[in-house]
Subunit: 253 residues, 2 copies
């Protein structure tokens, strides 16, 4: 029997993409929840299956697959007949992959900055400096990010720059929907590019920043549609939203 | 008749990947060389085919394809029978894509830092501050990178951090070769992951930093092999190496 195990974290954006794909395809999987603030992802046993020290990792029949969009592509290749997320025409696949690359390079790292400043800061601000330095140094791929964050958060300038990158990304997504005539980024079928962007929008909403697309009805409609997908509720189970874990965020609402 | 046009720059790392794939597959293409320091990539006519304002772009029968590894995947899907760069098994494809993601995230941006400090600084150091700011602000995806660079180069700290990331990447590549038993990252066939890493190594060598893998015979052997590939010479035509354009670099040799 096929065996799927998912190492992930309830609130992690990259985990959301993979949970969505697994749920959409009706794949049964065993879920392991890592506590990222206790450093579960940096323990030797986890680093041996994921040298990047990041969630998620999918283990399928004993093989480790890392990097959220790589996992989603893998699942789509194995179960392309259930709900195909990859277009058949090479040119459309190229379009999808360019969008995936853009989403990975621009909005996905940008949304970490308001997430850290507005929600995760509490985990770091009372940490002694040497402990913080040791923790940052231990991160294979997030060292420089954390050192820049420090224990007081990103500067106002860095925060505003991140919001600016997010605003430009939303404009780009709006243009993609208009170009393809929507409702999804590539036209009538939901693709891996939509799955890649979904948790960024959910995070912005969670941080009470949804005003960012109030002048973009295409984005609101896109978000409503993906929220109505049968895989959405099981992906965003209780504990997946920051407002559920950090009650102070709701005070801004 | 099929028509391929490549917008690229002789010295650009991302252009090298695509030229290599085109040459390996024996595809005839019309080449347009952009002068990145004159801002050819930010002109409205180019931004209309590549909104990221980056090289390369492949135009195939009127369709624009952007992002170097997306282009290489596209070419490999169209011409998989010539010299396949993508393994057939889904699990090996996932392995390849994880490596591609890592190479895109860690060594590829890291190598820009020694490139700018050691070679490209001459283009910026006499630029008036407001002109430099305007130029940086016009870059859709490299604005923050250039503002950090400034007109005096990255700090010693940033420079050393980049070299550290490159050293860790070389170690990771060595481990991949050992795991697969080589000579390529995934075993006996050259894949897109090798093509992704190739120009990073060539750039390091060009900057006289090849001491970085003198204790890693697997990497030296890998580099020798790819240099002997029939597509290599036509990819790195005269003008593709920085030492050919910036004579001061050879003074360190």
């Amino acid at each position: 029997m096929e065996e799927f195990e998912l190492y992930n974290a309830p609130q992690s954006i990259c985990s959301h993409k993979v949970r969505f794909a697994l749920n959409a395809k009706g794949i049964r999987f065993k879920e392991y929840k890592l506590d990222l603030f206790s450093g579960d992802q940096l323990k030797p046993e986890y680093l041996s299956i994921n040298p990047n020290g990041l969630v998620p990792t999918l283990v399928h029949n004993g093989f480790n697959i890392i990097d959220s969009l790589v996992i989603v592509q893998y699942l789509d290749e194995l179960f392309g007949d259930v709900e195909a997320f990859t277009p058949k025409e090479p040119i459309m696949r190229a379009r999808m992959r360019s969008l995936m690359a853009y989403i990975d390079e621009v909005p996905t790292p940008a949304v970490r900055i308001p997430s850290y400043n507005m929600a995760f800061l509490v985990h770091f601000k009372n940490m002694p400096e040497d402990e913080f330095q040791d923790m940052a140094n231990a991160k294979p791929l997030r060292r420089e990010f954390l050192l820049k964050f420090g224990r007081v958060g990103f500067s106002e300038n860095e925060f505003n720059e991140a919001l600016d990158r997010l605003a430009r990304s939303l404009k780009r997504m709006q243009e993609e929907i208009n170009f393809s005539k929507g409702p999804w980024f590539l036209g009538d079928a939901l693709s891996i590019a939509d799955i890649a962007m979904m948790p960024v929008l959910i995070r912005l909403e969670d941080l009470n920043l949804k005003y960012m697309w109030e002048d973009k009805p295409e984005i609101s409609r896109w978000l409503e549609l993906i929220k109505n997908h049968h895989a959405f509720q099981s992906t965003f189970y209780h504990g997946s939203l920051l407002t559920e874990q950090y009650p102070h965020l709701t005070e801004n609402n």
